[in-house]
Symmetry: C2
Subunit: 561 residues, 2 copies
């Protein structure tokens, strides 16, 4: 049937839809003096003007056009213009250090960077050689910040005002015909090991991902709801939400740099937000804000919030309980990676027909899982030491995924060790439970192998943290000549807690849920535990620190005496 259905899966075909069906629906951005609003119809006209300006500049298919911007209507326009015209939207993470940022810009060979005025100083710190490919800086900003850049140290011959640049294009521009295999977006992973690596997405990849996440069992993005995408637009295309919004024309609320919980809460109330996205810490902060200001009773009648889409780590049941009881809000948990564009699986409170009769507390358990693989995503659990073999059903192993929006290679770098026969090696240790849901138990590089058996560091950390007096715990592997590796617990104690007999108490506490051979050999009390830039405990640094200290396991010390 080749050629009979030659319709290419292009984002321009989806992204014109919202403006056509809901031309008066609003794109809202928080600014200093209230809100900036623009209709979807206007946004489409401006996006075409912007695409036309890029075309006139000489931007060609798959050329990298970068953004270093907050979540805003202007960033949203860039999403639409750059990827619908066939160029490659390269979103720069404004939380990165100058070295990584410079490396990424240089590696991607960005030709143009759209930058918010209040972020220009990040570019000024980058070595000029890393910016060698950049022909133009397009400086955006509201609140009168737009002119700040004029005093910047960037080469003034290479800078232009956003509106001036946009107005160099014309709005009767038409989206081009493209091959749907062409690259529409590029995001770099902020891995703790080695240089950042780019995950490139094709038109087809993001088109399919957009259709999928609007599924009623997925993120259910609907034209009938107001959405506040809190996840940064520089973080895996904000989980794909902007493209879903362009498709549905749902009213969209963007925070710009006003990301504190008080500002967010006000936006939710002002615009009747139904859905938002973010990591659990964000919702924890929102809850704390409401509680500490004592504003719950005032907030309740003004909130229309229905769902919080949550990713990154599992939300605590107490958090979900509070939001459900006080605000009637459901948590939807997602699992994914930069490499999966990013949604791979979704967990909802009530996942199945057979769960409908279950009590509410029981079904919070579902949301703590990574959830059910999304349609189109295939999952394998492979043996950690032999990826060609599946584990037995229900056992834990290396999580491998593939599907039409899962990358099969990194951008312009050889990293074949991250793939196995067409499957992405996620680096997560996971199992599939009896409900078909994925449960992540560890990062595969952090799992501990002792005497041929695996010990989950995350399970042990959670168990240790549940002990009174312990505020944080990390479990790492320490080499052992006979058992290969043995688990050691590093803890931060609450003030005034007695360390006497701590190892025995920890082993005693763990013995109810861990086998004897799995119990830790040692407990170390530290003042702080190193974290990565994205807020995760940095196990690699912990292991390096122990090595630096020439740490030896107690059992080995004894034998040497």
């Amino acid at each position: 049937m080749s050629g009979r259905e030659s319709e290419q899966l292009l984002l321009s075909k989806l992204c014109d839809r919202g403006a056509a069906l809901q031309p008066q629906s609003l794109v809202i951005t928080k600014i200093q003096q209230g809100y900036h609003t623009r209709s979807y119809a206007d946004q489409l006209r401006r996006a075409k003007r912007l695409a036309s300006a890029l075309q006139r500049w000489g931007v060609r298919m798959e050329d990298r056009v970068a953004t270093l911007m907050w979540n805003s209507g202007w960033h949203f326009e860039c999403y639409q213009a750059i990827s619908c015209m066939g160029a490659c939207l390269h979103t720069l993470n404004l939380r990165l250090g100058q070295a990584d940022l410079g490396y990424i810009i240089h590696h991607a060979q960005d030709r143009i960077i759209f930058v918010d005025a209040n972020l220009i100083q990040l570019l000024e710190q980058i070595s000029p050689s890393d910016l060698a490919t950049v022909e133009l800086f397009v400086c955006a900003g509201s609140d009168g910040e737009a002119n700040q850049w004029k005093s910047s140290q960037l080469d003034s011959r290479k800078t232009i005002d956003y509106e001036a640049f946009l107005n160099s294009g014309h709005e009767d521009y038409r989206w081009p015909a493209l091959a749907d295999s062409s690259m529409m977006g590029l995001c770099y992973t902020s891995g703790t090991t080695g240089k950042p690596k780019g995950a490139a997405y094709s038109q087809r990849s993001t088109y399919l991902h957009t259709l999928m996440i609007c599924g009623v069992d997925q993120l259910a993005i609907s034209s009938r709801e107001v959405v506040l995408p809190f996840v940064p637009m520089f973080h895996v295309l904000s989980w794909g939400i902007p493209y879903a919004l362009l498709m549905t024309g749902s009213p969209a609320v963007f925070t710009s740099h006003f990301t504190d919980p008080g500002a967010m809460l006000q936006m939710m109330m002002d615009w009747g937000v139904h859905v938002s996205t973010g990591v659990p810490a964000v919702w924890q902060t929102l809850r704390q804000h409401i509680q500490s200001t004592g504003s719950l009773a005032a907030v309740q009648p003004k909130m229309r919030l229905q769902r919080l889409v949550c990713g990154g780590s599992s939300p605590p049941a107490t958090l979900m309980r509070w939001f459900l009881d006080e605000l009637g809000v459901e948590f939807v948990q997602v699992w994914g990676m930069t490499e999966t564009n990013p949604i791979g699986s979704v967990a909802r409170r009530i996942g199945k027909v057979t769960d409908l009769e279950k009590g509410v507390d029981d079904s919070f358990n579902n949301v703590k899982k990574a959830g059910l693989p999304s349609p189109g995503v295939e999952v394998r659990i492979a043996q950690l030491d032999d990826l060609s073999r599946d584990v037995a059903p229900g056992e834990a192993g290396e999580l491998l995924v593939r599907g039409p929006w899962v990358i099969q290679e990194y951008y312009e770098v050889d990293a074949s060790e991250k793939f196995f026969q067409g499957w992405l090696i996620t680096g997560d240790v996971a199992k599939i439970d009896e409900e078909g849901a994925i449960i992540i138990s560890d990062r595969s590089k952090d799992v501990i192998k002792s005497g041929g058996e695996w010990i989950s560091s995350i399970d042990m950390e959670n168990a240790v943290c549940a002990m009174p007096g312990i505020s944080l715990a990390a479990v790492v592997a320490v080499p052992h000549p006979r058992w290969d590796e043995r688990p050691v617990v590093v803890v931060i104690l609450d003030k005034g807690v007695n360390t006497e007999g701590l190892l025995d108490r920890v082993r005693e506490h763990l013995s109810s849920s861990f086998a004897k051979f799995q119990l830790p050999d040692d407990v170390l009390v530290w003042k702080e535990i190193p974290h990565t830039g994205t807020g995760k405990m940095d196990k690699k640094s912990i292991r390096a620190k122990l090595e630096e200290q020439q740490y030896i396991l107690p059992s080995l010390r004894t034998s040497k005496l």
Copy 2:
């Protein structure tokens, strides 16, 4: 990026999902003695066995394997097995006459026909030469009917029992790798003009359609709901619902040949059905059944019905009002064609955020429209006499559509007149209203052109039908030497209605909503109005009958006197 994301969009990747995630979810079929049930896990095993049996028989990629079956778990297995193994599922319409059925089987060159025992007589009536390509009849049936076929007139050397055939395969069969451009399904249109034409769907077409219809603003098929697909599985793949069910694993209820409203109602109550699909006449019949049996009060507490997906024609507001008030059921209206696989647009009661404040009655208006184009479907309204030109916004014209699941040619027949520069010519006259919704006003072959202006026959029929005493009205064009065409109304009157001054009364009634030049030249009172096999008024026959009667318009008669 070619080759980086080489994942083909294969139905087998979606259809294994339901069984994996909801293995114990049920596939339910009504049988004489109650219900036959089977789990999705069992169904998948059986589908693989069936696919393996087909492979052993020598069925190759894209070979046509036909079904002549009621909606049932067995038919559902055939859907899964035939299309996931790479063969082409050709569903035969059991309402067709023997000549059309024979033509279609012969044209498609079906190699195997799966047939329900109680439908075998339909095959017996077909000319043997039309069955020349058929190597095997696989005879299915429950209720002890399975053996009826043994006394049939079909060549006994070519017949085999369904279970015996299935058991010739093995369940450790693996779905093959395929090109997603390969043909997975074939449905013939039952057009009133010319021979039936086949619309062939690729793996990719149906994969995308399946993802799309599960969208929350589309048909919202969810793993959390019980679905009774009432639309026949021989009618455009039952609107694509079976593939959505295989993907979600939602409990599925099939009626088999027990299609009367009493049986359907019982199934809905017995299994807690949430969603069903059908034409308005089906829901009208269900309502009449409940009303005439006086069972509403008994039915209400047992019904979990949430939505009725409705297509074919607009449901009357009174029908929607009754279902909403008495059973809390929402109508979802869809527009589509065999050529669009089939969903092209969807109308919901509350379509937009801006409608949320509207009253309920107002928003029923939305559901009478064909609705908002589904994501991925592109729509053009072209001038009826020059398809290369768009009409002005809001005006009516020929509806053209294209998209990844819209065919671009018919199967093995030249019908290039049905396409225009890659767009499908739907044959519908439509306009796009201020909300972006499609409103169908006529079939383009039925629209009337008078003095260079267009008159909608459907609008006029609806207006005439609203007059007291008129039970049915058809409006057709009659040739006129000066004005090209003039409208003539054919009516059926209620018993005892006086025909005196009828033309004047009709013109008077229409004058509030039609221009003077649009008012009909004549009103003819007939005892019956011819209908097509699918229940639509047959305008072609009406025009033929007038010609046969050598009908002349009154104004022309006068001038000849």
